[in-house]
Symmetry: C2
Subunit: 345 residues, 2 copies
């Protein structure tokens, strides 16, 4: 008995009970408490009950810091994310959280307030003293590429939607296939060509959607109109939509996400161009509100949940088994609703 035990209930904050306190209360050794705490089966039933009772009585909860120090594992994974304010990121995060939780890991969120190289370094620094066993990156990968900072050496990582990055295993949505489906759908309906409201150039997702749009057009011998580039926001979609509405040649628009598609819809309404009568519109993401847009939006459904789940799985495989998984591609599905129709002749 080296340290002063328990201390009669001091008035202010008192020290949280430790294994030693429980051990004393239950008249066993600390090791036995540890065994009960970790669910080992080599403890006598009566002893276990006694220990459990002591734990409850004292309100014992294991000190995760000490446990982590001893085991070298935090049972937590980190997520580095630029913004939660996009539908896709949020859904992905939701899925990651659930998957991690199911695997008995908690989730540490490391925000990158502004998508600049500097901020990314800050996030990595934070990561350095964060208590995580691995990290999932949900960032605009271009920035990451340019960034001179490195992830801590030996920290397992998985990167989402940055296909082609060789440094880490990645989980990607098949953006190209999605864009292809969207454009194909409009062309099949009889539209001569399809205009594109793209996402920012620095985003890999945006780039891949744009490239696939152009390629599909080319394959069908349709000429590609100039690209209108937005920043994913409804406002951008609205502004760009106004331009498109003013151009009578426009009969079909493929927006790189649902929020911009919504902006386009609004612009069309305000300009008196009927959707889908005069102009057909297709989005990308299939956010939960899209089916209630007016008109309900034809869009490309992404399986964000699947992306999140696979990322966690790949990461934990590396954390626990020490083996890297390969890249993984999640498919996509076209959901036809009421914002698309054949062109008026």
């Amino acid at each position: 008995m080296t340290t002063t035990p328990g201390q009669a209930t001091a008035p202010g904050r008192r020290r949280a009970p430790s294994m030693a306190d429980v051990a004393r209360e239950a008249n066993v050794s600390g090791q036995t408490v540890s065994r009960v705490s970790n669910g080992r089966d080599n403890v006598d039933a009566a002893t276990r009950d006694r220990v459990l009772a002591a734990m409850t009585k004292l309100g014992y909860r294991p000190n995760s810091a000490a446990r982590a120090l001893r085991t070298g594992r935090f049972r937590s994974i980190g997520v580095i994310m630029f913004t939660l304010s996009s539908f896709g990121n949020m859904r992905t995060l939701d899925a990651i959280t659930t998957a991690a939780s199911d695997a008995g890991y908690s989730l540490t969120l490391i925000p990158v307030p502004h998508p600049t190289k500097g901020e990314l370094s800050v996030a990595f620094d934070r990561l350095a003293d964060a208590a995580v066993d691995g990290v999932i990156l949900v960032v605009e990968a271009h920035l990451f590429d340019e960034s001179d900072v490195e992830l801590p050496d030996g920290l397992p990582a998985v990167i989402i939607d940055a296909s082609g990055d060789e440094r880490f295993p990645g989980v990607d949505t098949d953006q190209a296939h999605g864009a292809r489906l969207a454009v194909q759908h409009l062309l099949d309906l009889g539209h001569e060509t399809v205009w594109h409201v793209a996402g920012p150039e620095r985003s890999y997702s945006a780039t891949r959607r744009r490239d696939a749009w152009a390629a599909t057009l080319a394959e069908h011998g349709a000429s590609a109109p100039p690209v209108l580039e937005g920043d994913w926001s409804t406002e951008a979609g609205y502004e760009l939509g106004l331009e498109l509405a003013a151009n009578p040649a426009v009969t079909a628009v493929f927006a790189a996400n649902d929020q911009m598609a919504l902006g386009v819809l609004r612009a069309m309404h305000e300009s008196g161009r009927a959707v889908p009568g005069d102009v057909s519109v297709v989005g990308f993401d299939d956010m939960s509100e899209s089916s209630s847009f007016w008109p309900p939006l034809t869009t490309v459904h992404q399986y964000f949940g699947e992306v999140g789940r696979r990322s966690v799985e790949a990461l934990l495989h590396e954390v626990e088994a020490g083996e890297r998984r390969g890249n993984s591609l999640v498919d996509v599905e076209l959901v036809v609703r009421q914002s698309t129709a054949p062109p008026r002749r």
Copy 2:
């Protein structure tokens, strides 16, 4: 020198460098490394540089578990949340993350997959071995009330939007004022009465909005139509909206959130009732898409960012200063757009 030092670069994973390794490399004591690591100023500039160089060379990063064990602080706060899939929760989480990060805390997310008492217990258990200094609850408080589980004793907590809970300091949005503004606005426009598409009864927010709606109507001598109760989803709004659209007496609708308002808009469009010509609609939340709905939605703006910031502030005050803050109420603002107009006469 008790333990085997460094070990020549073993092929597989090698032990992460510790303070002792850095100390050896820089020819100083571990304590000096600790001082540099913690930014103390009582270290000679030359020594500091030497230590810093050694840290870089070895790729040292502090072991947060050991630090937490020693200091008793994790520098992390937990967030217990039912679902990320609601606009408000997401925005709140975003703000919490940013505020925590600014204060040098990381954020641990503890999901509660399904809003049942059992799941809540599971979350609390998880919390028990999560490494957090305090916790912010973003849950439907009714469930929490009924739950027999308790938060770990002595763990500081703040609860969001559960006004009246006496156990913890809370940060609430002034839901009642918001509902009042919405109803008042419609009444001022000349509507005889206002119909209400409410949120689920088990939600305090929903209850408060509903009560304030009823009270405002009563104050103006308007009779309160039966309440239509939804589950916050656009689908529910749509179903309920169809009922409202079929009733020619309906000229004004107050939906308890923007998503249900969107569903109502769609139902009105499909039923051929003009908004705002035949029916005016007001929402609640002001999600970023609302200004692009068709027509752009009049709604009650919530300052989710402020709620998140204040929660973190209150929590950290308790964590660091040991003093509880009182409750805090965040105001709200009516944003008039184009979904409301005087009734057709």
